[in-house]
């Protein structure tokens, strides 16, 4: 009996010693894979520094990281606002496989970093890989994404041209109902910014036809109407927008504020100032 107990104890101690030897001293590949996985989860829980340290250590040891692996690490860093790490890894991914990464890179820079010139660089490079095909980046037609960049850079005529091309591109294979209300909304915003209120209202209406709870469309349509002295109807649309946004109807995203996103406080302020 004692002999067996001795054997069990020695067996256990030997196992522990082997495990210590393997995972603390030798540290084989699986150790770094586990280290990498735990580092990623730590980042997910917000422990960025520790998580990134573990990931970096694993990258050095594992070597030959693929573009998609760098891409994944970059995503969590963007979500946590670690811009230096996010871009460092995305640059590595983009260097390895620009064809796979550039579309995402451009889309990310547009929405998450509001870095329009750099976004255009990546979107244009991505577009050149398939010159006869209008790619999608995220959920967006690439022409629409480029149009947004130009709009935010204040180059409204160029933006309008690209919004029109994006709509044409979508209509090649689908009917009008396929087009996202955001495409019409952004075209309307661009017309509005160009001072073409009547034309803008036409496109706000197209947006509303596509989604009759688009608070942002009612809001900006109301503003455009007030600008052309159609104040009564304009005010009515602002109130409608306020009612919709109060009930939670508006376009938004879990991660990032959208372009021309509207807020209850914003609409209330404008109504009070009228």
């Amino acid at each position: 009996m004692i002999k067996w107990i001795k054997r069990i104890v020695i067996g256990l101690l030997s196992t522990i010693a082997i495990l210590i030897l393997l995972f603390v001293i030798i540290k084989p590949k699986p150790y770094y894979i586990i280290n990498y996985a735990i580092g990623s989860q730590m980042q997910w829980f917000g422990y960025d520094k520790k998580g990134n340290e573990m990931i970096e250590k694993s990258i050095k040891k594992l070597k030959n990281f693929s573009a998609s692996e760098y891409h994944i690490i970059s995503i969590q860093n963007t979500k946590n606002g670690n811009y230096n790490k996010a871009i460092e890894y995305l640059d590595k991914a983009s260097e390895l496989e620009p064809k796979e990464v550039d579309g995402y890179y451009g889309w990310l820079l547009l929405y998450y970093y509001r870095d329009y010139e750099k976004a255009l660089f990546h979107l244009n490079r991505y577009d050149l890989f398939t010159p006869n095909f209008d790619d999608y980046v995220g959920d967006d037609n690439i022409l629409y994404a480029k149009a947004l960049c130009y709009k935010e850079l204040g180059q409204y005529s160029k933006a309008l041209e690209l919004f029109n091309n994006a709509i044409k591109s979508e209509l090649k294979e689908h009917d009008e109902s396929w087009i996202s209300h955001q495409v019409y909304f952004q075209k309307a915003r661009t017309l509005h910014l160009l001072g073409q209120q009547k034309k803008a209202i036409e496109y706000y209406d197209k947006t509303i036809k596509s989604w009759d709870k688009s608070a942002e469309s009612f809001y900006y349509k109301g503003l455009a109407q007030i600008e052309i002295n159609d104040s009564l109807i304009g005010r009515k649309n602002l109130n409608l927008a306020l009612d919709l946004v109060t009930k939670g109807y508006k376009t938004s995203d879990s991660y990032v504020a959208l372009f021309d996103e509207v807020y209850q406080m914003e609409i209330e302020k404008i109504i009070n100032e009228l």
């Binding site: 520790k50 606002g81 995220g138 376009t251 991660y255 504020a257």
Partner: protein, 166 residues
């Protein structure tokens, strides 16, 4: 409309991967949190577990508009020193909507670590500390929980040009 599409497709898991991920969660929670639970400045609710803002639905009264208005009202442009770059402030919001554990990092406009004029950074962090209308995030049972959050402020020539992410 925006689904961080690539993320979703990359994060799609098989049942085995889910089990493995759950196992890692448990490991992380039990080992790491017991050793590193944040303390001091902010009382985190429950076990002190934090979840990312984009999963808990953490919000600010007035949304990004409310945050921007606060910065517009209180930030004074700085015309000297190294006055362009990005200031990221990371902080926790507990189940009561209280904030704490503030940390910041500064980046160039090309996203490299750098230093920026102190009077810019101090103002931006101070205003973030004064944001006191947070609506706590919730779990699946609609109970208020702790979240972590960041705000990134892009400054060009001493003036605030953009505040991200939402």
């Amino acid at each position: 409309m925006l689904n961080h599409a690539t993320t979703h497709s990359l994060n799609r898991c098989t049942p085995f991967k889910k089990k493995l991920r759950n196992l890692i969660y448990i490991l992380v929670i039990t080992i790491f949190f017991s050793c590193n639970r944040k303390s001091g400045e902010l009382d985190l609710c429950g076990l002190g577990i934090l979840k990312p803002y984009y999963l808990t639905g953490l919000d600010y009264k007035g949304g990004m508009y409310g945050i921007k208005e606060k910065y517009k009202k209180e930030y004074i442009p700085v015309k000297k020193g190294k006055n362009s770059g990005i200031v990221k402030i990371r902080f926790d919001v507990n189940c009561l909507g209280e904030t704490g554990n503030f940390e910041f990092e500064t980046y160039t406009l090309n996203y490299e670590s750098t230093t920026i004029n102190d009077s810019i950074v101090n103002q931006i962090v101070l205003i973030a500390r004064k944001l006191n209308n947070w609506i706590p995030g919730t779990n699946d049972d609609n109970e208020n929980i702790n979240s972590f959050k960041f705000i990134a402020v892009k400054v060009i020539n001493g003036e605030i040009k953009e505040i991200l992410p939402k």
